[in-house]
């Protein structure tokens, strides 16, 4: 059976390594032409899932189709339709960028002339033409990763797997890779990417599957996931901590749940439903009481917090970016 609308369809995947269940009933359905993020901490099973779907690892149970073909029975057909970029940049360091792409082109069974032409196209597309004849050892991390991506795009795959595409890159390199990935999607390729960088999933993926202990525990758009965790948060930071009780009262009137106090940072936080109304209400009230406010604003929960709520534990590698959507009060 072929679920034609799904580029990736996995049902009940099982994979164990000794006693450890790397995947334990992993389900995933990725619609064509979307970017899907697999988000989870180290050891959650992200990489195992991607490696199974990319035909690199045998599964112990369940079944999976990629680009309409079974990853076990039709592995060769799947391989003609996928690109795979693993955790390490798998390009030859001694060859030049051009030589790398030509070699991979030949291994994808393009003729010599075709492989050469395709290499030139990809170098152009990934903005590597200038460095094409340098050994890739001289490339920056971001350039090497782009070459790596280019190599997995030789046959214009229907599905592209990216396993932690920006791990180990500096911010500039990450941006370069993000731009490259976005351009692929505009060409119609379905992308499944794993990441521990929560903002990366937010940046690139239209939908995110949160994975923990080998299972998908949530599957939604980044925005909806954030909403699920309690929507927007109202946050007030006071000038004087003696005013905390008054501020608490003001916030409690508009809050959807119990407000939280952070004495050390003179901060009151609470989930709110009518975001703007709540904000103006609290601001006006504090002003009426004559309370000095250092900062007041609305913020959406970060995916970090989403993860914490969904799994009950923090991701092992958290990002340092605290995303804030300030609403001018």
């Amino acid at each position: 059976m072929s679920t034609s609308s799904h580029a990736i369809h996995a049902v009940g995947l099982q994979k164990r390594y000794g006693e450890k269940r790397a995947l334990d009933g992993f389900d995933l359905a990725v619609p064509q032409g979307t970017v899907y993020g697999l988000l989870g901490p180290n050891g959650a099973g992200k990489t195992t899932a991607v490696r199974i779907l990319a035909t690199l690892v045998r599964l112990d149970g369940g079944r999976a189709e990629v680009a309409g073909f079974d990853v076990v029975r039709d592995a060769r057909r799947v391989r003609r339709r996928i690109g795979f970029t693993g955790q390490f940049t798998a390009v030859d360091e001694i060859l030049t960028g051009r030589q790398n792409l030509r070699m991979f082109g030949r291994l994808f069974h393009l003729g010599p002339a075709r492989a050469a032409a395709r290499a030139d196209e990809l170098l152009e597309q990934f903005d590597l033409t200038e460095a094409a004849d340098k050994g890739t050892k001289e490339y920056s991390g971001g350039m090497r990763r782009r070459l790596d991506l280019a190599a997995s795009m030789i046959l214009v795959p229907k599905v592209l797997f990216l396993d932690e595409p920006t791990t180990g890159l500096d911010p500039r390199g990450r941006n370069e890779v993000w731009t490259a990935v976005r351009s692929l999607v505009s060409g119609g390729t379905t992308v499944l990417l794993t990441t521990q960088y929560l903002d990366e999933a937010d940046q690139l993926a239209g939908r995110v599957a949160v994975i923990d202990h080998g299972k998908v525990i949530a599957d939604d758009t980044p925005a909806a996931l954030k909403r699920r965790v309690g929507g927007d948060q109202l946050e007030v930071v006071l000038e004087e901590s003696v005013d905390l009780p008054v501020a608490l009262q003001a916030v409690a009137r508009v809050a959807a749940g119990e407000p939280e106090i952070d004495e050390e940072h003179r901060r009151v936080t609470a989930a709110v439903e009518q975001r703007v109304a709540a904000l103006t209400e609290v601001a006006r009230r504090l002003q009426d009481e004559g309370i000095g406010v250092e900062d007041i604003g609305l913020r959406r929960p970060t995916l970090d917090e989403v993860f914490l709520r969904l799994t009950g534990h923090k991701p092992e590698e958290t990002t340092d970016t605290t995303e804030r959507t300030e609403v001018p009060a």
């Binding site: 057909r77 390490f88 940049t89 798998a90 994808f108 196209e121 060409g187």
Partner: protein, 276 residues
């Protein structure tokens, strides 16, 4: 960007063989391009045997005697050829470790290329570079006065036996490369390669060693190949009395065959375990 990509379906079975060879050649071409882009690497690789030739041939050589007579440097050269072949397995292992840890092997495995190509390509490239090694070493040998008195075919056969040993060691190299966790560990292979190459008839005849060590050296596959090459080149041989030394030619043919038969399945099984 509209690219029409050809060949989207798996090839017919009769094309499989073609692609197995073509892909193997492409993978080998990669390693050979390395040699062209980094010719200095060949110099490094050959530095050791060439320095050994000078060291043993000239520094220690004057104090060395070949049992049964003959010029030591004449005796030494086939040993150097054999040692270079023997230690070549380190290059194979190191290349395999590098590809596996850097994800190149995974990329190959995720592609619709012939599954055998990474292995056959590796083997082909190693044999070609071993030929290059022998060429440079033989030239060095000629410069210091070594000659083969064995005639054209015997000389060719001797080099053939040396390459036959190297071929067998490719499989050990691939297997070791697949069981070695990382580059650092691969660096430690010297500790294995050194005694493997040296406790043999490369530098001195086993009959000159303590009995137990001499026996180990005599049964070392490297010894059979080197002794057989000496016989074919018409160089001093210094044969001991043990059965294996008396049947060096047989050993030079059978030993690599045994190694290949043992290590091909082991390497293949290890390669398949990558998908566990």
């Amino acid at each position: 960007m509209s690219t029409t990509i050809l060949g989207h379906e798996p090839e017919a079975p009769e094309r499989r063989m073609y692609w197995a060879l073509a892909d193997g050649w492409t993978v080998a071409g990669r390693t050979l391009t390395h040699l062209i882009r980094q010719p200095a690497n060949i110099a490094w690789q050959l530095g050791f045997p060439i320095v050994s030739v000078l060291l043993f041939g000239y520094v220690f050589g004057s104090a060395m005697s070949v049992p049964g007579g003959g010029d030591y440097r004449e005796y030494l050269m086939p040993g150097m050829f054999g040692m270079t072949m023997a230690m070549g397995f380190m290059n194979t292992a190191y290349a395999v470790v590098l590809d596996t840890t850097k994800g190149v092997t995974d990329r190959f495995r995720s592609m619709p290329m012939a599954p055998s190509a990474p292995v056959t390509g590796r083997g082909l490239a190693d044999i070609v570079s071993a030929m290059l090694d022998l060429l440079v070493l033989a030239a060095t040998a000629l410069v210091i006065g070594w000659r083969s008195d064995g005639g054209f075919w015997a000389t060719l056969a001797a080099f053939g036996l040396l390459l036959w040993l190297r071929f067998a060691l490719i499989w050990i190299g691939i297997w070791i490369g697949l069981v070695t966790p990382n580059e650092e560990a691969a660096g430690n292979l010297f500790a294995v390669a050194f005694p493997f190459a040296m406790i043999s008839s490369v530098f001195v005849a086993p009959s000159q060693m303590p009995d137990w060590l001499g026996a180990v050296a005599a049964w070392n596959p490297v010894s059979s190949t080197v002794t057989a090459a000496r016989e074919l080149f018409g160089n001093p041989v210094a044969l001991g009395d043990s059965w294996i030394e008396q049947h060096a030619m047989l050993g030079a043919i059978v030993w690599p065959l045994v190694i290949t038969l043992v290590f091909v399945p082991m390497a293949v099984r290890r390669f398949q375990r990558l998908s566990r």
